[in-house]
């Protein structure tokens, strides 16, 4: 993907972006209630526990919903259609991301299809994007 908005980490989100820069998808997990959660915060939104940890997750996900954006915002250099997707990680949390490695056509995108994370550079950061496991 061409240049676009660049995320700026905060102290609470920095480990997520540090992981992305190292090619790892890192998500927080609550030690007390054992649930993974997103987006980053130093306590569990489900049980309010402070006992949370960062975990490298599998990077496997399924496609939950998507749009094909034919009118990319002016922040993007390229005017090519974008596949903007909501994907659900094997560990539970849902992320907004891009699907890459396929032509942006509905026929290529089946809800529930298996995906694997990949990382693409964006400014001084790396974005977690997802590729279909089978095309």
């Amino acid at each position: 993907m061409s240049i676009g908005p660049i995320p700026e980490p905060t102290p609470e989100t920095a480990p997520f972006w540090q992981g992305a820069a190292e090619g790892e998808l890192r998500i927080q997990r609550c030690i007390r209630c054992e649930s993974f959660y997103f987006y980053p915060r130093p306590f569990c939104p489900k049980c309010n526990s402070d006992e949370v940890e960062w975990k490298r997750v599998s990077g496997r996900a399924r496609l939950s919903s998507y749009i094909i954006n034919y009118r990319p915002s002016p922040e993007f250099e390229s005017k090519d259609p974008q596949i903007i997707a909501l994907v659900t990680l094997e560990e539970g949390p849902r992320l907004c991301t891009n699907i890459v490695g396929v032509e942006p056509e509905p026929d290529n995108l089946r809800l529930g299809m298996e995906l694997q994370v990949a990382f693409e550079p964006r400014g001084d950061q790396f974005l977690p994007v997802f590729k279909p496991v089978r095309i």
């Binding site: 700026e8 987006y39 919903s65 009118r71 915002s73 903007i84 909501l86 907004c96 974005l127």
Partner: protein, 387 residues
Amino acid sequence: MPLISPNGGNIAIVGASETERVGVVPDMSMIQLHADAARRALKDAGLTPADVDGIATAETQVIEVAAMLGIRPRWMDGTTIGGCSFMAHVRHAAAAIATGQASVVLITHGESGRSWVGMPNYSMNPRGPDGQFEQPFGAIAPYSLFTLPALAFLEARGMGQRDLAEVVVAQREWAIPNERAQRRTPVTVDEVLTGPRVAYPFTRDMCCVVTDGGGALVLVSAERARDLPSANRAVYLMGSGESCESVLVSQMDDLTSFGSFRRASAEAFETAGVTHDDIDHAMFYDAFAHLPLYMLEDTGFVGFGESGAFHAEGHTRPGGRLPINTNGGGMSYTHSGMYGMYAIQEAVRQLRGEAVVQVPDMKLSFVQGVGGLFWSAASLILSNQAP
């Protein structure tokens, strides 16, 4: 002053008006759209700015609106939860009047959404949750964010893109005779489906228009309403509710059903003490075509998966058993960015018997708002029957 319930018809909307013009109004700034609507609504109520002791608005500083009109309030509400803020203001104003914190509340909206005159600069925050976890992926404009869960909703029900188009076609019927509406050309499902692509599965007419405009409401106690020249046109708040979920679409609890619609509407029905069968008319905030589908099901008017057929079979159209979005909605009438005010205005017009396309025998209207991109929701049940 004795405490009364804010619901059950104890609080009345006695003034209601949109700006003189809606659509393309390049000669008026945002704040003047607020002021134009406010002065018209006060005149409608038979009141003046000097009578107002409570004021509410969203996005714009409530102080700026008060100062513009020369109001020195004792109650203020700047609740900004997206386009349904004004439904929340009605609910909050009712509570303020019921507890004696205010006696005459003015709620205003003004937005130069199309001409962008006197509006703040649009800016993104790359450090916010959206700036980090949505915008880098292109999920920036409402059409690329609000639309994201739609395929999950449709597929869970065996529905599809045609169901989105049916909503557009049904609502357009209301807009055709309405000279204030932006889109008035009759359309077919196939024409909607083959229209300009915006964000699959959404084509142009499945997305709201972008306009300039405003609206305002004046609320007092039902007791005080009886003494106003607008008494016989008063509209009473029967019930209300509000809720929120997340600022990130990806973090909805369920992509196929919005919890805030369920929670807000359930409280509105509970506080009003009425059932769905009692409702004559509904306004479902429709920035995009999937929203009336979610709302019909999440607020309990139809069962799971029935919202598409309900539109296709004509039940929401003129003469249907539940007329919906009778001004044409955000997709055909007007949408300055925060549509909620216009939804309330149309409900009030219908209950007063003053709508362009009037629903006969109106007694109860249900108004469902949504805020942001599945961020929040607020619901109102309004009546024209004095308590």
